[in-house]
Symmetry: D3
Subunit: 228 residues, 6 copies
């Protein structure tokens, strides 16, 4: 059945905002290395970065009808998560749709398929993470669903989940875990700041993390190069 | 048989020039969604853009001899379309060849293979769309043909056809259709300008394109989120 | 057996420095078209460029323990060459490790796997050539080796070999051949400078390289286009 | 947290058994075209076929420790569903593990990674659907989880779900929908039997499904070939 | 425009029949190494073999409506050539459609997409060459064309062309060249028979083809292994 | 420089013969998980199996001249290892070449490229492991080398090394390690036989390998399923 779930609960905007300092790698670590989309999801321009709440779209291959339906469901701070039911590199989304979803508050797109008008999208600074870039248009013939759970690039995404995306890719934080993951991210960042200073000063991870004994016990051998 | 067809008819330069405002996506739509090369053909730098007339080169794998032959056939405004007879990611084309073909009027390259010296080509602003970047050189041992019909990245290209390429990829307009496609592109652009204004103002595609009835008839259901 | 070879002989720094003007394509040609890594090894930012001496790391899939070990083995001017024993796109290396290896003199990384924190690495201008970008972390559980011969992206690399990398990819020059390849690169560059001038002036490769006779002998036919 | 859920509820064996006549394509259609794994999941021998209940395994890349843990959780009629947390083609599973899980009732394996000993597995007629075949061994160093929901090859799988697999791939039927999908599969099969007879007799889908009017309305044109 | 061309001229059946002894490699060589489809087109069972006349189908991604239209256009000895307008691995064709097209004389299918029911198709010995196997169904929503020129897996195919396919892949012989290619195939086969006998007797290609002088002139050096 | 090394030392035939009982996975484990070729190297027919001594061929892309040269270097029990200098899927090798190398004692082929005439090769039971199957012919224009060290599918291979290949892929045993690896393979096989019996009897790897304590110490938790 094709369904549009209206106004699902979302991670609150104030919590979303507090994720601003953290990159995908930090958040992914902070939530126990879960929620990362496959590495073939790449930003359309370097420096793309977003954090927002998911509006999910399950969509037929090469058919973008449901993105028009999803536009109406966008609220300020939303990021569209679009996943076709079979692989497609068609260009489901371009500048016109971007104008439309931006008018309704959307701040980014993650699509396991293709996107087009990337020059215009780049100029608008509307960030997109996609599997492909393609000018190939789509049809409007078959229904899908909006704001149902979807699997996108190997990860389960529920509507209202937190989406963090940058040059490293895209990570999903389940809605009810966002507050905890925020704290864990802050803690991780603090710890990394301390470590960074020591590493820059030349201390080695071998010593900071106390690895030498473990390495020796597992049998690592050091040997000078023989001859030249 | 290996053959070089000299001075094939080309889309007239004044028509080519009028395509300047239009991107690949617009032209692809305007000619009924035909002629688009596969999405693995990517520009070597962001913002690459060209429109020109095709000089086609059918070429053996990892052998660039025929590009030297093709250089002589280039006229101002030409774009080289190079297609190997079996897959290859070797670097068939680099800065020296670019200097040569530019001296004969070429303004871009589309190659279903590899290219090298991309830093220098970027500095020259010589746009290339390719399947790979590779420093791997090629040999000059086996003949091919110039200005015969070729299939490049899944599309049939005839010499003299119009080549439009930008960040979205590459589209081919058959020579005798160029004037019609120009008109269709202009019409499409005008229509999109009107739509863009409405979308930016917050009107929805659902209403502008009158989709609501169709969606309902096909059975789309709206349902509020249950609980939080 | 897991082993760390300490202080292998390296290409001397003064020879390395003299390679600065030469790109990957030039060096690859100059050494007889050997030593080029596979074309899926791409820089994380445009304009990335390095030349240095190899510290090699053979590493288990999705386990970056040995990079911490390798950090201690880095000397000024070294480039880390990291190759997993089975394919992995995990993010073995990020900003913290970069801070560490930079503190020990490393100037770049070549990894047949994934890398993360690319925004930070780009800001640091720490160049990386990798197969993937991924925030996926790795474990520290299994030994590997440092400064043993490794195959990375299809090429055999010995510790101390010269690594040249730029937008075109990565090429390895065996340590004992570096001086000879330097001379050959200089010679090639000089010759190309002369050729470049002639090509820019409109002379054709067909004439400069004397190809016309050979082409004719092999049977290349020129034929005017028939009709329009 | 790493967890093993013991004895999750499963689709009852008598319902599973009634799926025997139905292939993956029929079941996939019968449940509304959901639940199909990606097409890169291929059987290790032609004619492989299974239907059973899922024991799910979330597992680190190139580490098969948790499959040993999962072996103890297998009950007669179970099919192991194994999904690594980042891509890997290592050979996580071979003949010895097959002997072990068979002794505990398992009847098949679906793994989004590699498998080895395929000659022996074929001789045992132990069916496996995998992304790769590779002799590359794995380590036993890092925990994962058993019988938690996993995403495998693009589909969400819960423990106890029904797994149907054959030469066409793998489809998952959620546990609580199995009875309904069974009925729908039976209905579909009956209907197809009737259609098959008519098609074999030469009737056309155009007429059986009443497509001609729709095609004409959309503008399909029939035109005799011009000349020969 | 969507069009069905009815009854295009085809390579005559008696000529088609005479190709029976020749494999894809022989025919590909005999027509000057042209017409070969990309190597990702694989048969669904070992030993698949066909030669027939092309009924071409240009089809939207994940939409198989036009194959129903094409079924009516099939005549005894035809092979369907199906090419989607953007990449798709969906299963456009299964056992029911096979029953239908067989009833109208079709003897095989070449599809740059997915196919399903491969166990049943194998049992029917209905040979298919495809890019993927997938149970994923398709829709019937958008028009395409039948018996127009299409590019399939990198090759231009016209309706009525000769299609030869076996374990090595698929090659297309243009309709008007079929008689000439037949003669060239017969000649090649005869010549190969003679060569085969000499090679089996231990004569070397180096001598049969007179390569030694050429190799020496190009600088090939023979050197005994040094030490053991 | 292009060179043919004649009669390199090989692993002795009696040692090669003793490897007959062992598969690729066993040998790969027995030599410390080294020497395995990439998993994209697949046999052309199920059940393909060989063990022999390597004749290595470094070869230009899409040019098989050096395989003719290599044929003369084959001795009874040799396996050809062919590696192009840049990626190619062309069909370098077919039935005629197989007849020739068989006449000189070769018993198999490993090629990181394409092969053709697979139906005939299968009938001859001449085993081939390749990256692709393709009828695309190659040229004879450019030199390469025979019996020099090559990197094939990610592994370094020296002439005279032992090549073991079966349905699981291909593994290389360095010549001077063959006797040791033989002993280790025999030891491993014996140990596995004992383990196999216990696993078939229902004992768990968890107990046989004493894993339970380690799993608990790392924090693995068992929990009954909640509800149904």
């Amino acid at each position: 059945m094709s369904v549009v779930i209206t106004d699902p609960p979302r991670v609150p905007a104030d919590i979303v905002g507090l994720f601003e300092p953290f990159g995908v790698a930090t958040v992914h670590e902070a939530q126990g290395r879960t929620g990362l989309l496959a590495s073939y999801m790449r930003p359309i321009y370097p420096g793309a970065k977003t954090q927002g709440t998911a509006v999910t779209v399950s969509i037929p291959p090469a058919d973008n009808w449901m993105i028009h339906v999803a536009a109406e469901q966008c609220r300020p701070g939303d990021v569209l998560i679009v996943s076709p039911t079979s692989p497609s590199d068609a260009g489901y989304f371009g500048e016109l749709l971007a104008c439309s979803v931006v008018a309704h508050g959307a701040i980014g797109l993650v699509i396991e398929a293709g996107v087009r008008d990337v020059a215009a999208l780049t100029q608008m600074r509307f960030p997109v993470w996609s599997r492909a870039v393609s000018a190939q248009g789509t049809v409007k013939a078959t229904l899908g669903s909006v704001n149902v759970p979807v699997v996108c690039a190997g990860q389960l995404v529920h509507p209202g989940d937190l989406v963090i995306a940058d040059d490293d890719g895209v990570v999903i934080v389940p809605r009810l875990k966002a507050a905890d993951v925020l704290k864990a991210s802050q803690a991780r960042e603090q710890k990394e700041n301390a470590t960074r200073a020591r590493l820059k000063a030349g201390e080695l991870g071998l010593d900071i993390y106390g690895m030498r004994e473990d390495l020796a016990r597992k049998g690592l051998v050091y040997r000078p190069a023989s001859g030249a």
